[in-house]
Symmetry: C2
Subunit: 363 residues, 2 copies
């Protein structure tokens, strides 16, 4: 048996011990059926219970109002980048994209290149000292806008938007793939929320859309049925065979979150964890965070070494110590520590200890 490793991957990423233990224990005998969860029909009573329980827990944890539908689907965030305009944007309509980093820019491009009039609002900027800020003043709404799009946590850039723009009644569509269930939100403020499971609530292979029901029924004719929210909603997300394993793992994660005290407790933990990490980085003259204190992601801590020639050595040594996945996204370089819901405070303490140790031995 190898020694304990700490997993800072940005997603897929570490899942709670309790979740992984239960999934492993029951892998060949789910709910005493004598079959594995992945071996039973998505139409079986046993799977149906998992599916419904997952939805009920999600509704409870996020306090989802009854006029919102919850859809479990395939295709990832990228699939939703296409689904959003195909479901919401009329042929001659306008959509506002509030871009704060890599993923909102990707969503903007998918819409602009394929589906119609997408207005790009550059909503983050670097000041003279190289520090990134979210610019909420740029989050303005076009005349005739049919929706406004925002990515609340930019996984690649490490930027999180904690304030919601005032869209003057135009539906706000949010990608919360990396911050869903890391803090309470008021779902009624959104037209739709989309998120992949693979950061805070499960493995890869499933995406969830929470959508206000009056926004359904407008999909373009050419929208593939598997991305048509109305079709999926009408069939309770069983229009086609879902990824049963991911749905089950979402259920286990939701159960875990409920047992520990819900998203309010997770927010307390995530504030504590991220503060511990940023406080050390700010106190050090070896590491730098280039993001304004108010706009720093609680779950993706992006930082650089002041002396970037030490990057390889840093990654080699951290890996040797069992700290995995600290390399930044290829579009940005530098380092990134993802400390999602499943990461205990101990894992952040160990990372800080390593940062100190490395700084001390390389200063």
């Amino acid at each position: 048996m190898m020694s304990k490793v700490w997993n800072y991957y940005a997603g897929p990423c570490m899942l709670p011990d309790e979740v992984m233990d239960e999934a492993q224990r029951d892998f060949r005998n789910f709910a005493n059926t004598g079959m594995g969860l992945v071996e039973i029909s998505h139409r079986s009573a046993e799977f149906d219970k998992v599916a419904k329980d997952a939805e009920a827990l999600l509704r409870e944890l996020l306090n989802v109002p009854s006029n919102y539908k919850i859809i479990f689907e395939q295709g990832g965030g990228r699939g939703q980048f296409a689904a959003i305009p195909m479901n919401l944007l009329s042929e001659n309509g306008t959509a506002d994209y509030f871009v704060t980093g890599h993923w909102s820019r990707c969503a903007y491009k998918e819409c602009a290149e394929k589906y119609g009039n997408a207005v790009l609002h550059e909503c983050s900027y670097q000041d003279e000292s190289g520090v990134w800020h979210v610019d909420y003043s740029k989050m303005t709404v076009s005349e005739n806008s049919e929706y406004c799009y925002i990515c609340l946590n930019e996984t690649v850039n490490g930027i999180e938007s904690f304030t919601l723009p005032d869209t003057k009644g135009v539906p706000l569509i949010a990608d919360m793939s990396s911050d869903i269930m890391t803090r309470p939100i008021d779902v009624s403020k959104f037209g739709a929320i989309i998120f992949g499971l693979q950061k805070n609530v499960g493995p890869s292979g499933m995406t969830i859309t929470i959508v206000r029901e009056d926004l359904l029924g407008k999909a373009r004719k050419y929208c593939p049925s598997i991305l048509d929210w109305s079709v999926l909603s009408k069939f309770d997300s069983m229009y086609n065979t879902p990824c049963t394993f991911a749905w089950y793992m979402a259920y286990l994660n939701f159960k875990w979150i409920k047992n520990l005290g819900g998203v309010e407790e997770l927010e307390r933990r995530n504030i504590k964890k991220s503060k511990m990490l940023y406080d050390y980085i700010d106190s050090s003259d070896f590491y730098i965070s280039k993001i304004a204190a108010n706009d720093r992601s609680r779950v993706n801590c992006v930082f650089t070494l002041k002396d970037e020639s030490l990057n390889d050595e840093f990654l080699k040594l951290s890996k040797a110590k069992g700290l995995i996945g600290l390399k930044g996204h290829k579009v940005l370089g530098g380092m990134r520590a993802s400390i999602y819901n499943a990461m205990p405070i101990e894992g952040v303490q160990i990372l800080v200890d390593f940062l100190k140790e490395f700084a001390a031995s390389h200063s």
Copy 2:
């Protein structure tokens, strides 16, 4: 521990013991990383090896020519029903659909309702005695046809087409979701083959497209990137985060198939298994197969009780004996036993024993 159950679900369905054991054993420590496979990044060296090994095994097992690309994607067969016309059909082009059952009809509808000129060829018929036949003579090619579509095994109907139509050089696109790797095929005879994993080669959550490379690069402008074969192929199926668990399970299944002797050995087993089951049904005056002997699926044995008032009793008793999933698809009624690659001959023998026993006690 409950007693052994036998799983005849049509998919998701039973997987090989060896595959399930290995997946369970390594669930929390994949490849000695100290992390679960579902917890590691799809960009990690460890997952990259799984992905590449799965593709290499698939190429080897089906003898896929080098001018074919293999794409691992999300969205299921239903997703491909949209992807096929969006990738292959020009705006004013024609596509021929050879319909032999439920799923080819669904594929036809998705194309006809959303994407253009789809020609419906009814390629199965019921004779005067109520027996279903595949009518290969109806598989004709329209002038200016851009592709011909066929579903080689109709999971719902229990009909399998063992002869390929002569499409006069027009690309033949086949859905092989339920018969992939149940027998050798000559991939070079196809323009593309699509299949979901969840019958013969894994759990739900992943679809594979094998496509001749000269057919790439023609996707419609509005084709979502996640269904654009050219985009997915260019990024080695990592344009977006794949369902890593399903990809890994496909790898384990491919390895299992290779170890037991490849698809040739599976074909021998599948012939033997299906013959045992149909021979008994044909010999009985209690059960009926309404499909012509030459057109019967080797993997989905659809049958009815002569006295259909016994259906509920049959399902209740079979379940009590640990024989699960024998209820036919809702569109057809009756019974269906799915005996895919993972089903050992013992499972078929046990089913036949039960059929005999039930017939004896209810005649």
